[in-house]
Every structure is written in C-alpha cells, then in structure tokens.
Subunit: 356 residues, 2 copies
C-alpha cells in the first residue's frame, strides 16, 4: 500500500460558478499529485500538494529532447453524488506502453491508480455535476536531468493535474468537418505514433493550422508510407459504417489505441454489429460515399466521446455525410458511453471504478 | 538595434579548473539569455540574467505537446585570445526553419545573432582555451501557455544557455562503431525530421539503448518508407568515400541539414573532390565494403566535428572500415574545420563571426 502524503492548500480557489462554461483545459483545481524518480532509487515521495508551479533547470532534458508522456481520462459525477472513473486501467496500461517506447521507467499499475484516486478524492468538490461536464485528469511524466545530451534521463517527475471541463462542443453532440491531410505525416510504423508523447502532437500543428484556415476543425491522418490508408484524427480514432459494417483502422503501431475506440468496438459487437479492424484506404471511403453505402463516420476520444463527422475533404473532393446530420449509431454510442460513464447505464464488467 | 538588459550575477561560480575534463553538457555558465513572446506583442524583454531555474505551470504546453525547438553551436577561443563563432548564420537560419515547421514564431536573424553574441560576451571568461575545448551554445524555445489542448501556443520563452565543453571523445579524433537500425524509425518524409525538435530525439532513445547494449556507440537511421536508404546518425550526418567520390545522403525532408555537413561538402569541393548528395542504400555501402571500394566513412556534427566510423553493423553483418583506423580525408576535414574554428586557418568568407 502506497503512503501518499497529503498537504492541503491554505488558499483554496473559489469553485467555478454554476454557469461557467468550463472551457476545456483552462481551469485547474486546488491540488496536484507529484512523485519523483531517480535511477537506483525508483519512484519515491508520492504526495498531493497545492497546485503550484514547478521549477526546472533550463537544461532540463524535457525542454530539449522531448522525453515526456501524458494520459487523459475523466472523473464523472453520478446522479447520486458518487465520483466515477471510466476504464482507468486502460489508460494506465497505455501509459506504461508509452513509457517503454520512450525509455521512461514504468509506474506500477496499483500505484498509478491509487495516485489518481487520491488526488481526485482530495479535490472531489471540483467534480462538476451539470450535464456533459466532468473532471479531466491529466497524468504526465517529464525528464528533469539538467543535462544536454541525448540519452534516457535518470530523473523524472510524475504529476497528475485536474481540470473541470464542460462539453467539448458547447452545443453538445455536434458534427465536425474533417480535413484529410495529404502533405504532412504524423507518425509512421517503427516511430512513436502509438505512444502518447508530445512529439506526435507537435508534428500535427502545421496541418491543423492549415485545416482551420480552410474551415475544417480536425485533421485526419493517412499512413506515412503509401499515403493512402486512414490512420486517425488529431486526438480521436475514426470509425466508418459502410453497408451495415462498422470499420475502424487496425492498430498498426502508428495509431494511438484509444480507450473510447475499444469501448465502441465492444459495444457495437455486443449489439450484434459486425466490426472490422482493418486497413482502410481513403479511396474506399470516398467510393462508398459516392455509391451511397457510407452510412456514418464518427471520431472517438475521451474529450468529446463521440464526434459525428459531417464532411470529409481530401485533395479537391469534399464528401458530405448523412446530409451533415448525426448518424443513428453515433448517437446510440454517445448516449450509451456517457450513460455508462455517469453510472446511469450498466456497462460491461470492470468499466467503472468508484472513487467515492 | 536591440536593447538587451543585462543583470549580472552577484554570486559568480568558480570557473572550472584548468584540468577539468569539461564533460559535455554538464557545466553551465553564470548567465543566460531570455526573451518572451506573446501573441499580439511579439518577442519582448530580451535580457541577460544570472543562470537560474525557470518556473512553469504544470499545464505549460511544452510538457504535454512537445512544442519545443533547439539549436547547438560553439564559441572558440583563438590563440590570440579572441572569441569566435562558426557559421552562426546557418544555425539561425535552421532555427527559423524549425520554428516554421512547428508553428513557433520566428526570431529576426539580427536579434538572434545579437542575443548569442551578448550572452557569450558576458560569460566570455568561460570560453576555455585548452586544445579541443569550446563553449557550447544552446539556444532553445519552449511553449509556455498553461493550457491543455493541441494548438500552437500563444506564449513562448526563448533562452540561450552556455556550457564549456571538452573534446567529445576524451582521446580526440576517435573511430566510432555504428549500429544501422532495422526496427525503429526516427523520421519520415512529411514529418518533422528536418526540424531540430525534441520529438525526433525521443523517438531515437529505444534504439540507442539497444545499440549501446550491443557495444555500438551510435545509431544510423534508414528511411522510414523503404527502410533501405541511409539517412543520418543520431546527432550527426554521415559521409562515405567510395572509389574516390564523396557521397552523403541528399536532404530530403527527414534529415537534419547539418552545418558541419555543409562545411564538409564545401571544403571537399574546394579540394577538387567529387561530392554527390544523393540517395544511397545500405546495400550499396555494404557492397562497396565487400569489393574494397569503401575507402572511408565518417559522421559530422557540431559536438565531435568529424567522427571516423570504424564499424557498421546491419542485420547480422558487420563491416570493418579502414581496418578500424582513421581515414585520410576524415583527418584532413577534422584538422581543417577545427583550424578554421580556432582562427588558425583562413576559411571561406563569412564562416567566422568575431564576438570579441
Ligand atoms: C492521437 C490520439 N488518438 C486517439 C485518441 C483517443 O483516445 P482515447 O479514446 O483514449 O481518449 C487521442 C486522445 O486521447 C489521441 O490523442
Ligand atoms: C539529428 C542530427 N543530425 C545531424 C546533426 C549535425 O548537425 P550540425 O553539423 O549542425 O551540428 C545534429 C546535431 O546538431 C543532429 O542532432
């Protein structure tokens, strides 16, 4: 059992007002979790402390060589006032996969979970209760050696910060327009695409800026080798319903294995749908759009849960899906997953972890 | 003209002892340069201040989304006591290329150069004078918005830190053993390989660890698409001399355009050698090794200038070059470039910038 030291803030911030839109990623709670690592000593001194700035040497390795990882999950307030986590074991497992890929020491799974639960419990009052709100949980690790040179670090900080968030799209379930990128590449087989590390996100910025300028809110990436197979959206996995079959790109080493992706696959199968995880080309999707068999397209991710896609733009073609509306299956998935997250619907065994 | 505020330290550190080996990247000088950026305001408040830790919010974007860039160059002490920079304009140009690729606001070239010269002048006493020593200069930029979400930041810090360094290899010009990577990929066309940003280095760690375990000091990367064309070493570009011709991989978008690489090409051409920048496959290199036409292999980079390569390992083949010794041309390049850097040899116009 972990001995987490707790130091409460002496200057609690006011909680956000009931009508605060809780803009994603901008408000932070009163406390944070922090734990150190040193080679030879392992992870040590787990503690919950007042939310505060961190001090690092300007030569700290994270600023230069990108050895950093993060995760993202949420705590939900159920109608009867409980605080629930959705499949935290999946995030913890993925965190350690990321750690292994980028040579960060792993964190024992039980310690990781206890750290999350402890800091969420301390800031429990910050878990909002309005519809479509939640407490976003951001665990992350950074390399801190004051050293200029490329090698795995010997010292790290593991932190968990918390941010109350409103609906990702203020209007709720909202179709998004997607730009299929044909110039830049996000990740390639053999690279770090399946790890949740900064290098994949910085690689996506230029494309995102271009897409926004053209009126598209998200970028869909193609594979880096043939530039024709669909991979994933900037911060979502992607699904297609073609002729009754649900299709999503197979995990191939360059795609992030999304927790929401896995949850969608499991629910669709439970509902008797055929789900195929396979290589799917952008050509196939555009052909299905033309011949009328492309029934739905949606993205999946922790932030927005399910995002119906209304438009796909590729080179000079734009395909409008479902007349720009919300598909039936997208809606059903959204309602079921959010229902499970809020404890209103009974999900598969082990999907909900009660914090309080 | 830039108005750089200078605040000198009240607690200068002792200079390293004359016999200190100055281990690369571990000792930092008394001062650092720092300048802020805010959208709408541009770069502002350039200043030289005592070397000190920086304070950042744990949500600072650099910790999560990898928006960070760096450069590396050196100041040299000439025999007559001057302080010289080697081709800083090339580093500054490359810095802004990196900035554009990863959506960091550019820094005007004259301001960048003045910042380097000013901080080096303040810490001039730290420029060492023993053979094979220099002052390593590390400019870098990090995204600092306290915000969780993937987009280019609105606030940045640009800093320059300085580190006196000894010879990269304590024994001087020293042949290295190189591991040609066949599992992992560093970068791919369309990605961020030609930018000097953390994401490329974190991607290289796992491979470096594996190579070290096998007794190889550096990793040579192949292209991410066909996995057969040679790209570059972890922190060096690579050259081959085959049958009298000097060959180095063409800049293709996934390779860092090294300043030392460019300098080697220019000098070799000046000396009447044929230099080809082209796609070269690992097969070609191993065939040349077998038929005896592979005369020399060397890496080029700011840290070690020229590193002769003694062994290349690819899959299960190991090729020993020049009986493991140092090639003539590698030696001539090393002596000429270091000679120019120290002001002993007259280099091409514009290669040397006098700080003091
Ligand atoms: C690149 C990328 N793909 C997919 C996802 C979706 O993963 P999850 O459903 O676990 O949030 C995310 C967000 O976490 C992501 O950053
Ligand atoms: C990936 C990579 N390639 C090549 C180089 C060599 O570049 P330069 O000669 O400018 O130091 C470096 C080091 O700076 C590097 O990091």
């Amino acid at each position: 059992m972990l001995n987490i030291r707790i130091e409460k803030t002496k200057n609690p911030k006011p909680l956000p007002a009931a009508d605060d839109p809780l803009k994603f990623g901008t408000i932070f709670t009163d406390h944070m979790f922090i734990m150190n690592y040193e080679t030879g000593k392992g992870w040590f001194d787990p503690r919950v402390v007042p939310y505060q700035k961190i001090e690092l040497d300007p030569s700290a390795m994270v600023f230069h060589y990108g050895q950093e990882m993060f995760e993202g999950l949420k705590a939900y307030r159920s109608e009867d006032g409980k605080v629930l986590l959705f499949r935290p074991d999946k995030n913890i497992e993925r965190a350690n996969n990321t750690n292994r890929r980028i040579c960060i020491p792993e964190i024992p799974e039980d310690i990781f979970l206890e750290a999350i639960k402890t800091v969420v419990k301390v800031d429990e009052a910050w878990v909002p209760s309005k519809p479509d709100t939640s407490l976003y949980i951001r665990p992350f690790i950074i390399a801190t050696d004051p050293y200029l040179g490329v090698r795995p670090a010997d010292t790290y900080l593991f932190m968990i910060i918390l941010s109350p968030v409103g609906p990702y799209y203020p209007e709720g379930l909202n179709p998004v327009k997607i730009w299929i990128e044909d110039e830049y590449v996000r990740a390639v087989k053999g690279g770090i695409g399946e790890a949740k590390t900064g290098g994949n996100y910085v690689a996506s910025l230029a494309s995102q800026v271009k897409a926004h300028e053209e009126g598209y809110s998200q970028v869909l990436w193609l594979d880096g080798i043939e530039r024709k197979y669909i991979e994933e959206v900037g911060a979502m996995n992607i699904f297609f319903k073609i002729n009754g079959t649900v299709i999503t790109p197979k995990l191939n080493g360059s795609i992030l294995p999304g927790v929401t992706r896995d949850s969608c696959i499991q629910l669709c199968k439970k509902w008797g749908l055929t789900v195929e995880e396979k290589k799917i080309s952008v050509d196939e999707v555009f052909k299905a759009a033309e011949d009328g068999t492309l029934e739905e397209v949606w993205g999946t991710g922790t932030a927005a849960v399910v995002s119906p896609v209304s438009h796909l733009r590729w080179e000079n073609k734009v395909s409008k899906i479902k007349d720009g509306g919300i598909g039936e299956l997208s809606k059903k998935l959204y309602e079921n997953i959010t229902g499970i997250q809020l404890g209103k619907i009974q999900g598969p065994d082990g999907w909900i972890e009660v914090v309080k």
